[in-house]
Symmetry: D2
Subunit: 342 residues, 4 copies
Amino acid sequence: MEHKIAILGASGYTGAELVRLIATHPKMRIVALSGDRKAGMAMAEVFPFLRHLDLPQLQKIEDIDFSRVDLAFCALPHATSQEVIARLPRDLKVVDLSADFRLRDPADYETWYGKPHAAPDLQAEAVYGLTEFYRAEIRSARLVAGTGCNAAAGQYAIRPLIEAGVIDLDDILIDLKAGVSGAGRSLKENLLHAELSEGTHPYSAGGKHRHLGEFDQEFSRAAGRPVRVQFTPHLTPMNRGILANVYVKGDPRAVHKALFDRYLTETFLEVLPFGALPSTRDIRGSNFVHVGVIGDRIPGRAMVVVALDNLCKGSSGQAMQNANLMLGLDEATGLMLAPLFP
Amino acid sequence: MEHKIAILGASGYTGAELVRLIATHPKMRIVALSGDRKAGMAMAEVFPFLRHLDLPQLQKIEDIDFSRVDLAFCALPHATSQEVIARLPRDLKVVDLSADFRLRDPADYETWYGKPHAAPDLQAEAVYGLTEFYRAEIRSARLVAGTGCNAAAGQYAIRPLIEAGVIDLDDILIDLKAGVSGAGRSLKENLLHAELSEGTHPYSAGGKHRHLGEFDQEFSRAAGRPVRVQFTPHLTPMNRGILANVYVKGDPRAVHKALFDRYLTETFLEVLPFGALPSTRDIRGSNFVHVGVIGDRIPGRAMVVVALDNLCKGSSGQAMQNANLMLGLDEATGLMLAPLFP
Amino acid sequence: MEHKIAILGASGYTGAELVRLIATHPKMRIVALSGDRKAGMAMAEVFPFLRHLDLPQLQKIEDIDFSRVDLAFCALPHATSQEVIARLPRDLKVVDLSADFRLRDPADYETWYGKPHAAPDLQAEAVYGLTEFYRAEIRSARLVAGTGCNAAAGQYAIRPLIEAGVIDLDDILIDLKAGVSGAGRSLKENLLHAELSEGTHPYSAGGKHRHLGEFDQEFSRAAGRPVRVQFTPHLTPMNRGILANVYVKGDPRAVHKALFDRYLTETFLEVLPFGALPSTRDIRGSNFVHVGVIGDRIPGRAMVVVALDNLCKGSSGQAMQNANLMLGLDEATGLMLAPLFP
Amino acid sequence: MEHKIAILGASGYTGAELVRLIATHPKMRIVALSGDRKAGMAMAEVFPFLRHLDLPQLQKIEDIDFSRVDLAFCALPHATSQEVIARLPRDLKVVDLSADFRLRDPADYETWYGKPHAAPDLQAEAVYGLTEFYRAEIRSARLVAGTGCNAAAGQYAIRPLIEAGVIDLDDILIDLKAGVSGAGRSLKENLLHAELSEGTHPYSAGGKHRHLGEFDQEFSRAAGRPVRVQFTPHLTPMNRGILANVYVKGDPRAVHKALFDRYLTETFLEVLPFGALPSTRDIRGSNFVHVGVIGDRIPGRAMVVVALDNLCKGSSGQAMQNANLMLGLDEATGLMLAPLFP
């Protein structure tokens, strides 16, 4: 049996990535695609790389008949998402890829996103979508809130260390290198090829990046006390990929063991041998996460390095993994695609 | 039932691409991988992007037990391939990705590759592997010779035009832009990132590129008379992809119709509407070929543009498509992966 | 003595390139910079790479006191340029980098740019700025019209061949690969890093690119009869550089000799030994042009390959070379910067 | 008067960068170029981007007549350099770009480079080449040892903070992103375009990178007590540029003030306004260094970010600056080239 899928916001990168994944998913069929400004267009016009697929035309959200939809992916911009989801049928399964339902406390939402939450009642039922840590809740959820791509990378490194009690909670530093597709298909000068290629620079530095809201929420919950981390993301001249370096104080071998033990049975998390470090080129286009740990010549200091694909495991692949669970499927269904190299 | 597969030369890019494709192929299982200089190593060491797969160690070819192999892909360097295949069991199905068995006449081989062919008897049974044009022969072949990646791109544009008789056979010009993975994992100064990125240049220009041997053979056969084309390949700062511009003299609409009609029923060939032209970014990582045709302000001139992924449809994807046929499978099995964009 | 320079349109790439060149020019000093939408900003805000220079603030054109300006570079968008220049003092020396004054016949302008010329009287005094071919006229000109960057590349290959009478005028084909900075700092989806890197595609194909207007005008004048060429430009994932392959019918050695002889005394044109071909990476950031010629296995066919930097020799470097002449300086002043490699 | 210059090791990237800089240097003339394996070749063959220059042929070092040389740049590989310099005339001014004379204590050399120093007597007279901190010694030196490119970037951030006493000396962390040209023209798989582009990864992590020897030596000397830092370099898909993020504990405003005050009179160091951070694309191809400082939401934590061009200010530009001083010239002579953007 095939599940009938709608993708709202199919004209952006995460929407297109969902279509790419569903193209070879044995149990899902796309029945509706929305793209407000591009309603009436064929997906092949908006994304010629999907030309070989037989897909419904883009339409306006209000023109979709949700009675024949089993699950909707919502890949809309932040702030738009909460308004759209509030108008969807209340029994429709929804996986939201925006930031709108990630922060449990609406006050946190207002702090980080600068305006009141428009659907606090929906927030109450939303489950945070970091699959490996909320699997049970996701399985029975109606509304799952996808994590930030950077937020996913940081948490894969740090959560098991907090749980295992092997690091100093007051001195955690994340220096992260992100590919440009994480910024979406937005028309900004600093995303032009001529400006971005052949250079690298930090952005939203100094404790201002919004994914800190997720880090604060999740790390504090895991630790049972407030935890604040330092976090500097950089724009790097590659299209896909996040490399998160997490610098911690703790015994490097204990750090490695905590991660190795925690992820031993996880399909998508590969913990490398102690001392080996990952590269983004080895996970590109896939749902896999590579995790490495190394010590330092200074005793008691360790670095964890996490590599994942921001569009796949950091966003649409994670969403698919969660949707699989919500539909009663094996969570890896359609997600075993090997990375693309070179 | 799963077919048992060996990949000889698994430590190069085309070998790794075969592993990538088999990773989600429902009917093939890898039972042996060779890599002479890297024998004894795990694939995860040679290609960390394959870390999530449970694969046999690399071994020497002479240590492989071919009695338990149904089909061998041979992804070895040119010249080595003919020697290795000559020593394999004579009833083993083989798909060769090298240049060794592409030219039917051993004299042509000597002309283009500069030394006598070492296995002319095997050459006699080899079938040229351009699937869409040799499907019947491939289905019953024991030994299939994969085409050159540039040779595939050029033929997809030109063969139907010769067959339809819509162009001047004496004035065909191919200006081709190739991604760097086509040069393989070889250590050459001009393949270093610092030398290659941010620049483009022609190579093997002036009628010297070896794929001209394939063009001559195939176009002359199709035309029933000698056909010689001009061909200039360029190295372009992208990893995957070939864009072949073919300039011909003939009516542009007739050219478009010949291609459209010829590929109407082909799974992997997408002919765009007249006037639309393809981009390599829309086929990256896939087995699909995009074909576009446009006219010129000068009447009677047309340009055909073909985009394909050199490592996939131009090499390992084509090999897989042929292997599927040789094993009695649907030729598209395991090859419907959508391109990776962005 | 220093000449006082104004740059109108200093917030785009060609304007910034002029500032870069003047930074080490011994005889020019910038006294005014305009940038209408960015008036009031410091150049260091708009272009941080110019931070070390002591430059005037951006201002509106109407606020510039042209009485203290010796020469103005006009790096404004097409169509705007003619309106602005029409309002400047009639005795001010002007080098225009736009397309507005390139076509001598206002009817040609209307054909290629889709609307009537707004300053046909100024057109009458404009000199076409391909320095090596209009040096005498430029020296005494008041208004020089910079060539298109692609138009420059094509002409460096073809003009000497027309003059020498060594090629078939009815069968000239230009396949050109252009870096992305040629498209300027415009916000378009297809110029985003995520869309452009790792791919290549043709644009304005089929006889529609506006630089054909320049080719038609110049080649027909040189030949004394109408000449029409085929021309396909491609967007290539590099920031700077044009590689123009020109396919002609004629004796390859005669083609090489015509170019070698013509450019023997030119400072910026380097004709390579017969059979050697250039690469864009070897001229990046400089005013130099590399020209190569090769034959083909088919007798009577030759390929000329020209490499130049679109922002420098194709635009701002050419403009500087012309300005030097108009100010009575050696034309190479400030332009001997070596290319940047790697 | 022109100074006569020899470049030993002119066939590598730093050697070629020296030639690029001397091309427009008003007071230097190249009289000899060595390149052992390429002796007898023209520089235009080895580096076609230098084709326009009239340069001596590459020759073997033993064939150079050093009596007519005023200063030699030594751009040879580590370990080779000390042997070559030991054989040069003892009164010849030498700027060495290798690692051979950077560490004052030969025991430190052995620790970091794994073998005894071959010329400890020469080491005694070598001056460490970080111009802004050793200007007086360099002016009168005979032998100057260029710094590591990463070592330069880290020191520009940290030295003034140690001198000003505004940071915790026991908790300094450098996360550095380096362009690929820093690895030189060496033939390694991980430097191939297909492997490097579209990815990023750490290397020599965990306290193993050799530039730590320089950090230890210089920071401990400046502090008057042992200082050990953490340091993780990354290979980033760009050709030129280093972005060094230095995480320190101290008051951010005091950190900014210490850097601003220290570099106020330096020609090549640009300290940005507090809160602004640099990008490598803004210093590419130049001798300029951009320095930014930002605080964090966690009080008492600051990040300094330094951007410089590894081949220029990090290596050959620094060498030129030092050579200018040694020859009694203004140190900025020939080094005011503006960065290349885009």
